[in-house]
């Protein structure tokens, strides 16, 4: 086990770095209540205090500790990112697999729905959804889920199409295996690699989209410690309090880097086409 890990680090140093960052992120998110010196919504301190011993990342415009909010923000961002991706990608993947396998009119019909959804500009779609549902963390997750489902459906469908046409699946069908069993035992495992890669890249996409939604006033409620919300408030006072942009910005960047590098490495390892170079 340790040897395998060692090999991973040597062969995919970027991926290892990414994995480390992601692990750190998860740790911070899980341990937030114990790590953060203050509550995420706790006001009462002086506003715009520069980073100091008492407030290592300074305070924001309402007088809250930025360090605490960045730490709690890890929990929120990860929660939002993971929840929407798990829901969206999973739903989309199942959708893609099912329609690919069953084919026919159902496939054609559902493809039109997917295409219609994908033809809509994503930010506007998300904005309208937020306006319709109301601004809350749950609804951000819902809106992001709806955004992510069609892409996953289409991607996984094309992979699944390839798998469904494979001879061994034909054989399994011919010998009378139940559809569900075939899907479970053959189709899904072969889509796993793309599934995992989709997950990692889309978690970072979800985090960044939530930030853009915050800028447009439609993200998570402003008192929630979302990194996007912090950046939105921070750019209003960029020269006065650059730490309000620097620290959440750093946090988001690290998250994006970590997740993407990890995802890239997993893809490199699992996708047979990509192994090895010029020798």
């Amino acid at each position: 086990m340790l040897a395998a890990l060692g090999r991973f680090v040597v062969r995919q140093p970027l991926g290892a770095a990414g994995a480390l960052v992601v692990l750190a992120l998860v740790a911070v998110a899980v341990l937030a209540p114990r790590l953060a010196p203050h509550g995420p919504k706790e006001t009462g301190f002086a506003p715009y205090v520069a980073p100091s011993a008492e407030f290592p990342m300074g305070t924001d415009q309402v007088g809250r500790d930025v360090l605490s909010r960045v730490i709690w923000g890890a929990r929120l961002s990860l929660y939002v990112g993971l929840a929407s991706v798990v829901l969206g990608i999973t739903l989309g993947s199942l959708w893609g697999v099912a329609t690919a396998y069953f084919g026919g009119a159902a496939d054609a019909g559902s493809q039109r729905v997917v295409d219609s959804l994908m033809a809509l500009p994503p930010i506007i779609l998300a904005l309208s959804l937020m306006a319709a549902l109301g601004q809350s963390v749950t609804n951000v997750i819902l809106a992001l889920t709806i955004l992510l489902t069609p892409t996953a459906a289409r991607t996984v469908r094309s992979v699944a199409l390839g798998v469904a046409a494979a001879p061994y699946v034909e054989a399994a069908r011919a010998t009378g295996g139940s559809n569900w069993r075939i899907i479970r035992r053959h189709v899904i495992p072969n889509c796993m690699a793309s599934y995992i890669v989709l997950m990692t890249t889309n978690v970072s996409y979800a985090i960044v989209v939530e930030a853009s939604l915050s800028f447009l006033g439609a993200g998570a409620p402003p008192d929630e410690p979302s990194w996007g919300g912090m950046l939105t408030a921070g750019v209003q006072a960029l020269e006065t309090a650059p730490w309000m942009v620097f620290f959440p910005g750093l946090a988001i960047s690290l998250a994006v880097f970590g997740l993407n590098l990890l995802g890239d490495s997993i893809r490199d390892l699992t996708d047979p086409r990509l192994r090895g170079g010029l020798g």
Partner: protein
């Protein structure tokens, strides 16, 4: 081939209808309509007067008809090319489209041009020198574009320009045809920002496609045979590798043509993005419907064109 094109074009129709229906329903799920917004945003008149005014405005605009009728009426008009009047601007939606589309188009073209010039070579280098420090550097560099939300990068650039050079891009939009220099002085910045952002996925895709192609036997043999052949084959390899990338870029182009709201806001570009945002927040249904329709149409068309290009270049591709 012709059959394929005809089939794809035929699929436009249900997709566009689907998209317009989705938007129609979504806009009606969003609370408030233009009548309520117009009347309630002042809050000066008594509530009795307000109620009356709301009814009046709804009757004027046909918002008191059953929803299905409203949709059919809109669809009927749209098929004739009549998108109706904007509720907020009181002028034909068509005029708004004609004004805004060219700006987003220009910005999209600029963005793609920059992104391609920057991202593809980066991806090629990454692939050719896989797992070298060059590869790592290229991947980190391209990823950095994704790492910050667009509005942060945009504001940083704006403030950076002001702080360092006491200069800000032109705040007034001038068409390229009128004054190309002024126009570019304004648009280059959002284009750079956007290009930086979308280069990451382009680089990643270029890299993985190149990696796949490079492994093929003909490349290995060419390499073994010598320099001149290697160059010829690399060019061939590159061409094959780039096809999926071209598709991907086409996909992005379709998206960008819809205008990126945040960039338009920060750099004061009066394009489709801000117009759509404004229309949505004011519940200007005709404008929203028409813009989404156009954006969807453009998106589908660009994807079709790119797919056709793909098929034309590589006759091995079979279409189910």
């Amino acid at each position: 081939m012709r059959q394929y094109v005809a089939r794809r074009l035929a699929l436009f129709v249900p997709t566009l209808v689907g998209a317009s229906l989705l938007v129609f329903v979504l806009m009606r799920l969003v609370p408030g309509d233009i009548a309520e917004i117009l009347v309630y945003q002042t809050g000066s008149e008594s509530s009795v007067i307000q109620t009356k005014q709301i009814q009046q405005i709804r009757a004027e605009l046909g918002l008191d008809r059953p929803v299905a009728i409203q949709y059919l009426a809109w669809m009927g008009g749209a098929l004739r090319g009549d998108f109706g009047q904007s509720y907020t601007q009181r002028r034909p939606v068509w005029d708004i489209l004609a004004e805004r589309v060219p700006r987003s188009l220009e910005l999209a073209v600029l963005t793609l041009a920059i992104a391609v010039v920057w991202a593809i070579p980066l991806g090629v280098i990454s692939a050719v020198r896989q797992n070298s420090w060059l590869d790592y550097a290229a991947r980190v560099l391209s990823l950095s574009g994704l790492s910050l939300p667009l509005f942060v990068t945009g504001v940083l650039i704006l403030y950076g320009l002001v702080r360092l050079f006491r200069w800000i891009p032109p705040l007034e939009f001038v068409a390229f045809t009128e004054n190309p220099v002024e126009n570019l002085k304004q648009l280059i910045w959002p284009a750079l920002c956007q290009a930086y952002y979308i280069s990451a996925p382009i680089t990643r895709l270029t890299r993985s496609e190149m990696l796949e192609v490079i492994r093929h036997d003909y490349v290995r043999t060419a390499r073994a045979k010598g320099l001149a052949e290697r160059a010829v084959v690399y060019r061939h390899a590159l061409k094959n590798a780039l096809l999926p990338v071209v598709t991907f870029i086409g996909w992005w182009g379709g998206r960008l043509l819809g205008g990126v709201v945040i960039m338009e806001m920060i750099f004061v570009v009066p394009g489709m993005g801000t117009a759509l945002l404004h229309a949505v927040s004011q519940r200007d249904y005709p404008t929203v419907q028409a813009m989404i329709f156009v954006m969807a149409l453009v998106f589908l068309t660009v994807n079709l064109v790119v797919d056709l290009l793909y098929a034309w270049i590589d006759p091995r591709i079979r279409y189910a």
